[in-house]
């Protein structure tokens, strides 16, 4: 019987011919990732192990993106602690200050993660790198500590679920709408412990940005990973970036799936996920008039240059954002920032009354740079709308794609781009 792309990558990292779902394995990892929230705990645990040196200083990425530029003294102490560790261990991929970007946008952009890799990160959205055909999943700080010490991590081989994306994409429908629609369909635990494999004719039309967005939110369906089969679009993206050799894997025709969903993308309209779960997805056009206080366009989900271009196009058409809406634009990485500047997007945003920020995770997790007060509502291109996610326990987050977010910023309520 055949294997899935996920099983093939995992088997190759265990030196085995094949692996079976449910089997406990300890594969070698190619990249180990942690950020300023999870790395301090990982470093403390690493110290406890008694191991003096990390397994490979070139295979660890420490990205200080969550509460940076440091929001308070405690955060600054955390970053200092990690910085000292990175210096001591001569960690190659340490990012802070002007080099830092939101980790899951930064690592693929810099070619630090490549197709065929096994990646563990102490951040739930580590599943993003499935977009380039890697097995990539979130763990905790202790997982990362163990991986930094041994170069390995324990996993149970996941079952795979197949999503066959069919039909034609409607106007303004992007990767974000496809994944919100799927999460709405299967629920926040619809893919629990499983690898979500995205296939079908629509994939050929999806840009890398769209694929990153889809793989990024696999975790919001409970998935262990999300993965696309690498193709010429992947090749074009990674060829100029990859800092290591990479390998394209693909599922066998007779690979086994626990379930197959056929998704007719023609039925998908631009989506919004209403509070308080990402699965609460609805067509934006069907939402009754809901006034908002803030819009956030950014994050590991939708802070790439393609996202900013879409938002800028709509904001330019609408000229000014609504005076009642604080509109925050957060390019995910320095490269995205400089490209947006070069293309004149910041001028459009600033003239319209938006705030343009340095790259940071900031408001997405209610860290800083855009916290909500009691009763406030925010349309965000981020990934979670849990209770209190962006601030006060009585504030609300509505998830959307960049086009809906930009349209809502102009109108002052949840709106569709067609209204501009």
């Amino acid at each position: 019987m055949g294997s899935t792309i996920t099983e093939k990558i995992l088997a190759a990292h265990c030196g085995k011919k094949g692996v079976e779902p449910g089997e406990f394995i300890e594969p070698k990892v190619d990249i180990v990732l942690a950020n300023d929230v999870t790395a301090p705990l990982a470093v403390k645990e690493f110290r406890k192990s008694g191991v003096k040196k990390v397994f490979d200083k070139n295979k660890i990425a420490l990205v200080m993106d969550h509460f940076t530029p440091n929001k308070d003294i405690l955060s600054a102490e955390h970053v200092k602690f990690v910085r000292e560790f990175a210096k001591e261990q001569k960690i190659k991929h340490y990012y802070e200050g002007g080099n830092v970007g939101v980790e899951h946008a930064l690592l693929p952009e810099k070619g630090i993660v490549v197709p065929g890799d096994v990646i563990i990160g102490a951040d739930s959205h580590t599943c993003t790198y499935g977009a380039i055909g890697a097995f990539s999943t979130g763990g905790g700080s202790t997982d990362v500590a163990a991986a930094m010490a041994t170069g390995k991590v324990w996993f149970k081989v996941p079952q795979s679920i197949k999503f066959v994306l069919k039909g034609k994409l409607n106007k303004w429908v992007s990767g974000k709408d496809i994944i919100l629609y799927i999460i709405g369909l299967i629920g926040v635990d619809g893919a629990l412990y499983q690898a979500m494999e995205f296939t079908g004719e629509v994939c050929k039309k999806l840009t890398m940005a769209d694929r990153f967005t889809i793989a990024n939110m696999a975790i919001e369906a409970g998935g262990k990973s999300g993965i696309f089969t690498p193709d010429e679009i992947t090749e074009k993206y990674v060829a100029k970036r990859a800092e290591r050799k990479y390998k394209f894997y693909a599922s066998d025709k007779d690979a086994k799936y626990v379930q197959t969903y056929e998704i007719d993308c023609s039925k998908i309209q631009p989506q919004v996920s209403l509070p308080f779960l990402p699965s609460n997805a609805k067509a934006a056009k069907d939402i009754k008039r809901t006034y908002i206080d803030q819009v956030v366009i950014g994050s590991c989900t939708n802070g790439r240059i393609e996202d900013l271009r879409i938002a800028a196009g709509i904001i330019k058409k609408g000229k000014k954002v609504n005076p009642n809406v604080r509109t925050l634009i957060i390019p995910a990485t320095p490269e995205v920032w400089m490209q947006a500047e070069k293309e004149g997007l910041f001028k459009i945003f600033m003239n319209a009354g938006c705030v343009v920020s340095a790259p940071t995770c900031g408001p997405c997790l209610g860290g800083h740079m855009g916290i909500l007060a009691a009763g406030e509502k925010c349309v965000a291109t981020t990934n979670r709308n849990f209770v209190g996610r962006m601030g006060h326990v009585k504030s609300e987050v509505i998830l959307s794609n960049p086009a809906v977010a930009a349209a809502s910023a102009i109108k002052g309520y949840i709106a569709t781009p067609d209204e501009i």
């Binding site: 192990s49 969550h66 997982d143 975790i219 997790l365 860290g367 979670r384 209770v387």
Partner: protein, 163 residues
């Protein structure tokens, strides 16, 4: 090796209790278990930290611990005094984090259905048996795979690796 027995009173919750509710990000500028414990469950149950007593047990429905990978969540729960969490199902990162830090967790829909807040439980971890002392009932959970039992007994993953 002797059986691991846990005894405590139940705090019960519904489905999809997420890590933002277990420990909001506004407190993640600390990684000190004692500090995190003070804010445990704040956004879902403000009085939890006032009510909780040492060795109490959390019982919840589906997908407990979904969301962020923050290990601060099981750390906060453990440091607040909770000895075990029983649920229909766990989000997978929370599951591994709990095992890795040595917080016992059990999947047992039968128990979740029958148990109420305030019930007194006695759990035999090795055998996966949950006794409801209040209702005089017994439920059978899946015992941990041996590999995970070893991690829990070593006090977490790093202890296990050291061995």
């Amino acid at each position: 090796m002797s059986d691991m027995i846990l005894k405590g009173k139940v705090h019960k919750y519904g489905s999809n209790v997420n890590t933002d509710e277990i420990i909001p990000a506004r407190y993640l500028n600390s990684s000190d278990p004692a500090v995190l414990a003070k804010y445990c469950m704040e956004d879902i149950d403000k009085d939890f930290v006032k009510r909780v007593e040492k060795d109490d047990i959390i019982v919840a429905e589906n997908n407990f611990g979904c969301g962020s990978s923050r290990e601060h969540a099981p750390i906060a729960i453990k440091a607040a005094g909770i000895s075990a969490v029983i649920a229909n199902s766990f989000a997978r990162i929370f599951f591994r984090n709990a095992i890795n830090i040595g917080l016992p967790i059990l999947e047992c829909p039968e128990a979740v259905k029958a148990i109420n807040s305030g019930d007194d439980l006695e759990i035999n971890l090795n055998q996966g048996i949950i006794k409801n002392l209040t209702k005089k009932e017994e439920y059978k959970a899946q015992p941990f795979p041996e590999f995970m039992q070893k991690i829990i007994k070593a006090g977490g993953l790093l202890g296990y690796i050291k061995k």
